[in-house]
Symmetry: C2
């Protein structure tokens, strides 16, 4: 929210496009069972662009650009606060950012976390995709490699996953899979899971651990919380907004129930330990817990954290919220436990 | 639901008391991401007695009696299906039922599970409190000791917990704590956690593992899902029904934020491994996940399962639903892992 509030002028312009962003929210008391920082996020108005329906390439580009500008203004301060450096590079022809904390914990010197950013396969290009990677590197003391994968509408499915897998495949040449963890939020969480499926399909060794945060496991509007938490989640608000449009423009006519698009339909047998995170108000609550149940039914060591009162990915929206620190501390513990 | 539907005549009589049980439910599509059995439970009308407000002792007794009669008709068939025998007895002056499966798994011959039934500290007296214990014994292959603790309005706080602790204390004379697990649903889940707090306070060794299902950790109407899932959960529906009345009649003027009434306010440091269960539509979703977060923050090995589309304790309402078997299989694995 910090990210998106500061550049309010851009967002106000954006909201001129939006037909009916007001009426959609259910009236609910703000939870008094969360930190003051999280309470503020919970009380905030819905994101002004939730009900955006870009009609053509130019409108997509303008949307993506506006959000990217808002995020970009946050990055220098965040890097400073988290005491990390971010270095652009390229692996297997794919642009990446290496995020290095000031102090790498000794046990992490040979480990690496692969980061797949969120944004519906359309948002957060270039450096703006590193926001979550910076939090993880800073709070977890890990070196993080964030993949600037190609996105829709220019590059629809399977470009994003092709890029993620290309980087992972190349990384395996210098780092054993046992020392690699993969994480990401929302679309990045779905891609984290799809990466496991792709690794299996292509005969690559699986990463040692996966941490998908509120993952987009089902691109079709299937799952109970798409309905129960519609108008409750103040970040995504509804499937019937930019989110559903993003699913369409990324899938590009491909069957959205393909497991590489919607990993909930994949075979997760043999998956490594997986930690999933969501919130009680999250539109993706069902996307997350359905995958958790599926993993447990397949006998996988799968763990789940559900945050109180939290909408979609709120744990990324205020670096000073205790919930944010708790989330990344849980990820740190999880990767420390499962990476060699 | 099976339990409560068969004795429909009694329940219809009950519903004559009820002022406004219809209007309260939100209109939502039935989830297609659950089993047909669970879908049926999800589509069912709200329990007819959710909005009951017993005015005096006689109305409480009549309410308790009606629900007990409905449950009692289910028990013989359930015992047969689960292949268990149920033997009444008494421990430390407290009536108990020993539920013994036809086959006790060899590794479980010296282990025992202590069961605390649900029902808002008012419902499920006598044998009717054994329903969940029968499922656990049958599906898990454990010997289960179900406590028929005293209840409100005749015996308000702390009678129920006094009885539970008395049985546990006596049990410790013949079974080491390392071989004892404790479980229960709803009120029984809250009591499972309060038993941990009482054991600490009284210097007793803690049980080896706790499995509170959708536990009533906060008797005050505090927690986000009391609001978000009001009219979504078709079992409890709302705090402002018999549930809130039960809290009052059990607390009996005592501060409801006392940790022995609302364990969310207790100090859980030193707790044993704990597995919590809830559902996305559960009025007690926040009661459950708040306790899960609290346990993890205290460094406790705490695990969480959230069922898709599930209202309060639906996993107890159809013994043939795959979700029911999954739930008790998870509990079996959990206790097998943590009991000596």
């Amino acid at each position: 929210m910090n990210i998106l509030k500061k550049n309010l002028f851009t967002l106000l312009l954006l909201s001129l496009w939006v037909s009916s962003s007001q009426a959609a929210m259910r009236e609910l008391p703000a939870p008094n069972t969360v930190s003051p920082e999280m309470q503020k996020l919970t009380e905030a108005a819905p994101l002004p662009f939730w009900n955006l329906h870009p009609k053509d390439h130019a409108e997509w580009k303008s949307f993506v650009q506006s959000v990217a500008e808002a995020t970009a203004t946050e990055l220098p301060g965040l890097r400073e606060q988290m005491e990390v450096t971010v270095t652009p590079g390229s692996i297997a022809g794919v642009p990446v950012f290496t995020v290095t904390p000031r102090k790498i914990r000794p046990e992490n010197s040979e480990r690496i976390l692969l980061h797949l950013h969120g944004g519906g396969y359309v948002l957060n290009p270039g450096e703006t995709g590193t926001y979550e990677a910076i939090l993880m590197a800073g709070m977890g003391g890990f070196k993080v490699l964030s993949v600037d994968y190609r996105m829709a509408p220019d590059f629809p499915y399977p470009a994003a996953m092709d890029d993620a897998v290309a980087v992972y495949r190349e990384l395996l040449k210098t780092v054993p899979a046992e020392k690699i963890g993969v994480f990401g939020t929302s679309t990045g969480g779905g891609m984290t899971l799809a990466l496991g499926l792709r690794a299996k399909a292509e005969g690559l060794p699986l990463p040692a651990a996966l941490a998908p945060g509120t993952p987009w496991t089902d691109l079709t509007q299937t799952g109970d919380s798409y309905f129960v938490n519609e108008g409750v989640d103040n970040i995504l608000v509804s499937y019937d907004g930019w989110l559903g449009e993003a699913a369409k423009v990324y899938a590009n006519g491909h069957d959205m129930k393909d497991p590489m698009l919607s990993p909930i339909y994949g075979d997760v047998s043999g998956f490594p330990p997986t930690l999933l995170t969501t919130g009680t108000r999250d539109l993706f609550l069902s996307n997350t817990i359905r995958m958790h149940l599926k993993l447990r039914q397949a006998g996988i060591d799968a763990d789940l954290i559900v945050f109180e009162g939290m909408s979609h990915a709120h744990y990324l929206m205020d670096p000073n919220a205790p919930e944010t620190r708790f989330h990344f501390t849980e990820l740190k513990k999880f990767f420390n436990q499962h990476l060699q």
